[in-house]
Subunit: 337 residues, 2 copies
DNA sequence: CTGTTAGCGCCTTCAC
DNA sequence: GTGAAGGCGCTAACAG
C-alpha cells in the first residue's frame, strides 16, 4: 500500500493540508522553513507519491491528454504519437494513447472512457463515420484538436495536411512525364484527406487535360487486401492507367503486391506515387516516389493549439492549421511510354 | 458538466446508493423492478456516465492496464500495442499506452504515473538500464508481465522470443550457404534479446567452425545512425564479413543505407538476415530474409497472463513464455562466393 | 504560519 | 427493498 498525505503528516507531526501545501510549493504560500524541511524528509522516508486519481477527482483536471487515433500500427500515426508524447511529457502532461482500430463504435467508447477519466483535452484523428460525439465535445467546451482528418463545418482546432494541393502537384508531375491515364487508389472515401486528395486529383485531370474515367478511382477499406484488390481492378482495365496515385502505407503495400503478381514492373509498366511514411521507401525494389508528412510538425502544431486551449480556452476562436507535405521524387515515376 | 449519480437519483426520486446498486446490476442484489426501470430511464435521460476517476479512487482499481514500451514508432512494438489494445478492450479494460523513448528515467516516471493513476496491471518492455523500479512492482505484488525483454533473475511473468535459438538457426543457415565470416549488428547490448541473440550467434560460430573476431560484433544505440555506423565499420574491415545478422527495424535501415553507399550489393557482396517486422520486407530492392515475430501471439500470451494475475494473483508462481519466431528466407541471402 | 472543515463522485456497510 | 453515513486521497476555503 502506498503512503498517503496523512501518513506523511503523521510522521512529520503536522496536518495533511500543510503537507499538501508544501508539496505543491506555490511560492506565495507561507510555511516555515523548519516544518517544510521536516515534511520533505518525511516524504522521502515514506517514498510518498501523490495519488493522481484522487487529485483528478478533486481538481477536475488530470494533467493528462488523450490521443485518439485509428491505427497505432501505422507509421504515420505512431510517428505522431511519439512526437506528441515527447511534447506532452516535457510539459508535464501524461499522454494516453488510444487506438480506435478505424471503428466508429470503439471511438465513441474510447472518448467516453477518456472523458470519464478526466483528461484535460483531446487530440483526435476521427474515424469520420459519425460526428455527433465529436460535436458534443465541442459543445461542452472540452479542449480538442483534430489531426489529419477535419470536420470542416465544425468549430474545432485542426491540424491537417495540404492534401488537395499535394495531389494536384502529384498529378501535375505525372502529367509532365506524359501520363494521360492516372489511377487513384485509396482507403475509405469518407475520410477528409482522401476526399481532398480526390479533389486535387480531379482538378489536376481537368487542368492538364487528362483522361477522366470513374473506373480510375478505386477506394476501399483500410486494409492491405483492399489496396491489393483495388489495384488489381485498375490494372485489369482494358484501357488501364499508366500511373497510380496511392493513399496510405498499407494500401501501398497491397498495391505493390498486386503489381508484382501481375508481372508488371515499376516504373516501366506503371508509375507510382504514394502517400506513405515508411522509412523503407528508398530501399524498395524501385525506390518509391512519396508524398510525406512531417509527423513532428503535425504533433507540434497540435500540441501548441491544445496546450493553449487548456490553459486559456478561446471561445470559438478556432484555428485550422495546414501542414505542407513534400514530394520526394524517386525511381518509381518515369515518362510514359 | 456531466451528470452524477446524485442527479440520476434526484430525477428518479431515489437515493444515489440505490442507483449505484442498479447500475452495477449485481444479480443477487434485490431491487424492485419498478424503481429499476425508473432509474434506467433517468440514466438515459441524463445521459449519465459513471466517473471512472471517482470509481477508481473508491475501488482501488481502475479497469485499466498500462503498456510501457520503448518506442511506439517501431512496427514491432506498435503491432503489439494494437493487438493488446484489442484484447484489453474486449475484456473491458482500457489500455493506456506509454512510450519511454528508450530512456530509463522516463520509464521510471511513466510507471509511477501509471501507478498513481491506479492501473490494475502492467505490460512492460523495459529499457533495462536499471531494474529496481521493476523489482518494486514485483514486491508490491502489482500484476506485471514483461514482454520482449526479460529480467531473468526476477520473479515476473514474461513473454519473450526464442532469441538464442533464432540467431543460432540464422548462423546455421548462413553457414550452410558457405559463409565463414558473419557480422552481428545490433542496438544496445544490455537488452535481453540482443544478449540472447549474441549467445546464439556465438554458439553457432563455435558449432559450425566459423571465424571468430570480436570486431565482427557491432552494437550501438537504438538509432538509424548507429546501425549505419556499425555497418560501415564492419564493412570497412580488411577482412570483412560476407554476411550480416542485423537486429532491429531501424538498425536494419541504417545497415541498408551503409551497404548502398558503400556501393555493395545484396546478396552478391554481402548476405543479410534481419530481425525486423516491416511489411515492406518482400518489396525491398532485394527482398530481405527476416526473422519475424508474431506480435499477435506475444500480445495474446501477455494478456492471458496479466488477466489471470489481476483476477487471481498467483503468489510467486511465475511463467516465462517463449514465443517462436520464424525465418523467412528471401533473396538477401545467397551462397558465399 | 498552520489546523479544521467540507467536499469531488462513487461504493459499501449498516440500519430500518 | 431502500436510505443514511462514511470514506477512498486530495485540495480549497476559512479559521485561528
Amino acid at each position: 500500500m502506498a503512503s498517503t498525505l496523512k501518513d506523511v503528516a503523521m510522521l512529520a507531526g503536522v496536518h495533511s493540508s500543510t503537507v499538501s501545501r508544501v508539496l505543491r510549493g506555490k511560492e506565495n504560500i507561507p510555511v516555515s522553513e523548519e516544518t517544510r524541511q521536516r515534511i520533505l524528509e518525511a516524504v522521502r522516508q515514506l517514498n510518498y507519491r501523490p495519488d493522481k486519481t484522487a487529485r483528478a477527482l478533486r481538481m477536475r483536471k488530470s494533467d493528462a491528454v488523450g490521443l485518439v487515433i485509428p491505427n497505432i500500427a501505422s507509421p504515420y500515426f505512431s510517428g505522431i504519437a511519439k512526437e506528441l508524447d515527447i511534447l506532452c511529457h516535457n510539459a508535464g502532461y501524461s499522454l494516453m494513447i488510444y487506438d480506435t482500430n478505424e471503428n466508429q463504435e470503439k471511438e465513441i467508447v474510447v472518448i467516453e472512457d477518456l472523458l470519464s477519466r478526466g483528461v484535460d483535452g483531446f487530440v483526435i484523428a476521427p474515424v469520420q463515420d459519425a460526428d455527433s460525439h465529436i460535436r458534443q465535445l465541442v459543445e461542452q467546451n472540452i479542449p480538442l484538436v483534430l489531426i489529419d482528418r477535419d470536420f470542416e463545418t465544425m468549430e474545432t482546432h485542426a491540424v491537417i495536411c495540404d492534401d488537395e494541393m499535394s495531389a494536384y502537384k502529384a498529378v501535375s508531375y505525372l502529367s509532365d512525364l506524359g501520363h494521360k491515364r492516372i489511377g487513384f487508389v485509396s482507403g475509405r472515401q469518407n475520410l477528409y484527406p482522401v476526399l481532398k486528395r480526390l479533389d486535387g486529383y480531379r482538378k489536376g485531370l481537368n487542368d492538364f487535360n487528362l483522361e477522366k474515367d470513374t473506373a480510375f478511382i478505386a477506394s476501399g477499406g483500410p486494409t492491405l487486401e483492399s489496396g491489393y484488390a483495388s489495384t488489381v481492378n485498375l490494372l485489369s482495365l482494358p484501357n488501364k492507367p499508366t500511373a497510380l496515385l496511392v493513399s496510405g502505407t498499407i494500401i501501398t503495400v497491397g498495391a505493390l503486391k498486386a503489381i508484382q503478381e501481375k508481372g508488371l514492373s515499376i516504373p516501366e509498366d506503371v508509375s507510382i506515387i504514394s502517400y506513405t511514411d515508411t522509412i523503407y521507401a528508398p530501399f524498395l525494389s524501385t525506390p518509391i516516389t512519396t508524398i510525406s508528412h512531417s509527423v513532428k510538425e503535425i504533433a507540434e502544431k497540435a500540441f501548441e493549439l491544445l496546450h493553449q486551449e487548456i490553459k486559456t480556452p478561446t471561445k470559438g476562436d478556432v484555428a485550422k492549421v495546414i501542414v505542407q507535405t513534400h514530394l520526394y521524387k524517386r525511381a518509381s515515376t518515369a515518362p510514359a511510354h
